[in-house]
Assembly symmetry: C2
Homo-oligomer: 362 residues x 2
DNA sequence: TTGTAGTATGAGACCGGTCTCAGTTTGGAG
DNA sequence: CTCCAAACTGAGACCGGTCTCATACTACAA
């Protein structure tokens, strides 16, 4: 009745070795494919392995080699198609290179991010790809770098952190998109993001802790100023996620104000989706009453009436690129940290028009 | 220069034990939280662990306990929002119960599914959730069951496989949706799926290897027959994925035929999306020229003009349910395999209308 | 024939935890 | 004061692989 006799105990190299009448070391050499073995013995071991249906225990293998063949990915929100595609890009590249992916969700919370990182490090992943939730709290990321574990930052660069980074030029893209709105004559512009900030009213860039959003707002403000708009900060709307429906409420409030914006730049496709729905319930027409541009070329933006103009981010490529950089480092490459910036592409569709009534200042 | 002196070697229990001046066994008891230890020693060990920044090696832990604290998930296509949400449901439940998730993509290919399963079993996951790509080739799944590793089938039941299953009543949902179309007077109906089958023309249910799709087509055909439609099989369109654009071509061919369908039931939201786009490029109006119902309440279906009526599948709940069943089994529960069928909900929107011209047989 | 290089194999340490078992202390009961 | 049980601690086996090292054997050149 000892455990050796259990019919469900997984088959080990020792079992195979016994059956093939060779030593454990020799069987391991065949099964692991690493040492010199005579053809005759090799065949015998392989036959025994097949007969017993041997499946190597990757855990044990990882422990002795120190490599797990796994990379850890921490994203803000898998439900967001942006990250969904990114993960797909990462997975595809990883699998092609023989790596597995362990996925974790931070829900954009630093504490959850820390916990996820702890687990992944505990599992001895060979490297990490992280979209940092908060660029003010990066001690845990610094620890990763210090421990020499390869780390790639995704979409959100962090200054003076010596890690490879893959991002898009958010400031430039926001600037260009905003220019299209000002060029059309808009003067009351809003930038809407789901970001939660303290305090909930926008008072300055320093208050923002997601670097990509910060860069975008920076670009937005710069373009507004370039167009002679005063106090464009007043157009920045932090429609935080949080409680169910809170975001929608914030957006409806924005659109129902006495002097509502005539054009909106949406920070991501989820926010844009809410804005679009709000225009429907409020009976606003696009682009007649409101011009709208969104970040990320989400599926739905191409089938609405009118379709929505977007800043198309090369998310899948960002994913593969991040995996590429990471795997290169895992395989020993050790160049100085590089910051890759992939170009965005503006997709003109039908959601930008002239402001309904030109403001008096025009 | 030996490895013991490397400053980047991870800290082990032995290191902590040495520093706390206790035995490895005692340090392990504190760190693992399992044996009786005096408060004084406990504090000393904890202090040493903190000072050295000890991080347990989960791999080693898994090897000796035989539990990895990880569940493996194999889905058909992560890019499909259906699976995206499902994974979210699974992850949420898993994390709440202290499990991690390793994700793998089969791309709806059995061989890839087998490979993924092999890797996951190699990593000694505690249990598996799989959406089987092909219900004719299930030997590898049978092996899992035989090896006593907990397995839950997701969305696609397999007959006489003793594994827990979570699915929706696909036949019933398809039947009801089809009835809505026939009730509106439609007589030329089509069912469009991305499924690839051999041969590419629909000849019978036996040829289909994704059980959920099979059940849906069965429901579709039954509803058609109930409405007195002859040879409804001719309306089944296997618009296989495969090469880029092949699916779109098949759909455009269908819609441009001499006697095109006046109503379509789409097997998933990706196919429905293609159909919707095709109507736009072909200048067809919904529901004037074509009525459309899709499976899965994808985001985009609510913002088109008109919005699309859908069979809303409780995907997130299916995910949490699957994880629940799996974790119960991992924790030792061993009831006979249960097949949970979650109810679908029909969401009436604006994409179903009367056929443009009633067929002569009406 | 002997020396030597090279190949094939086995024995056993090792990775970093868990866990069993034996030995030591301690405390309360008799 | 003695005895026994419970609490604590340490030594070392174990999980299932990898990998180093020593040994046995082969073959070829000198």
């Amino acid at each position: 009745m000892d455990k050796k006799s259990s019919p469900f105990r997984p088959v080990t190299v020792a079992d195979v070795a016994r059956r093939a009448e060779v030593s454990k070391a020799t069987a391991a050499r065949v099964l692991g494919g690493y040492g010199p073995v005579s053809d005759e013995v090799k065949l015998r071991v392989q036959a025994a392995a097949k007969a017993l249906d041997y499946r190597p225990n990757e855990l044990a293998r990882s422990m002795s080699t120190g490599k797990s063949g796994t990379i850890g990915v921490v994203v803000g929100d898998i439900e967001n198609a942006f990250f969904g595609i990114a993960v797909r890009g990462i997975s595809d590249k990883a699998h092609r290179s023989g790596f597995n992916v362990i996925l974790a969700n931070s829900g954009e919370e630093v504490e959850a991010e820390k916990a996820a990182l702890k687990v992944l490090v505990g599992k001895r992943v060979d490297g990490l790809i992280v979209a940092p939730a908060d660029n003010r709290s990066v001690g845990h990321l610094r620890d990763i770098v210090r421990s020499r574990r390869p780390l790639v930052l995704f979409d959100r660069p962090i200054e003076d952190l010596a890690a490879d980074t893959v991002a898009t030029d958010d400031r430039e893209a926001a600037f260009a998109a905003t220019q299209r709105l000002t060029a059309a004559g808009h003067r009351r512009l809003a930038y809407v993001t789901a970001l939660n900030a303290e305090p909930p009213l926008f008072i300055g860039l320093d208050q923002l802790y997601t670097s990509s959003v910060k860069a975008r707002i920076d670009g937005f403000l710069a373009a507004c100023r370039a167009a002679g708009i005063v106090e464009p900060e007043r157009g920045v709307c932090l429609a935080g996620g949080g409680a169910e429906g809170r975001q929608r409420a914030a957006i409806e409030r924005l659109l129902s104000a006495a002097e509502p914006p005539t054009a909106i730049l949406a920070s991501d496709s989820l926010v844009a989706f809410e804005i679009f729905k709000a225009t429907q319930t409020l009976g606003l027409g696009i682009p007649a009453d409101l011009s709208l541009i969104s970040f990320y070329d989400a599926e739905w933006t191409s089938v609405t009436t009118p379709p929505i103009s977007v800043v198309d981010q090369p998310v899948y490529d960002m994913g593969t690129r991040a995996a590429e950089l990471l795997i290169a480092r895992i395989n020993g490459a050790a160049p100085p940290a590089r910051h890759d910036v992939l170009p965005n592409r503006f997709i003109e569709r039908g959601s930008v028009g002239l402001p309904r009534r030109l403001p008096a200042t025009a």
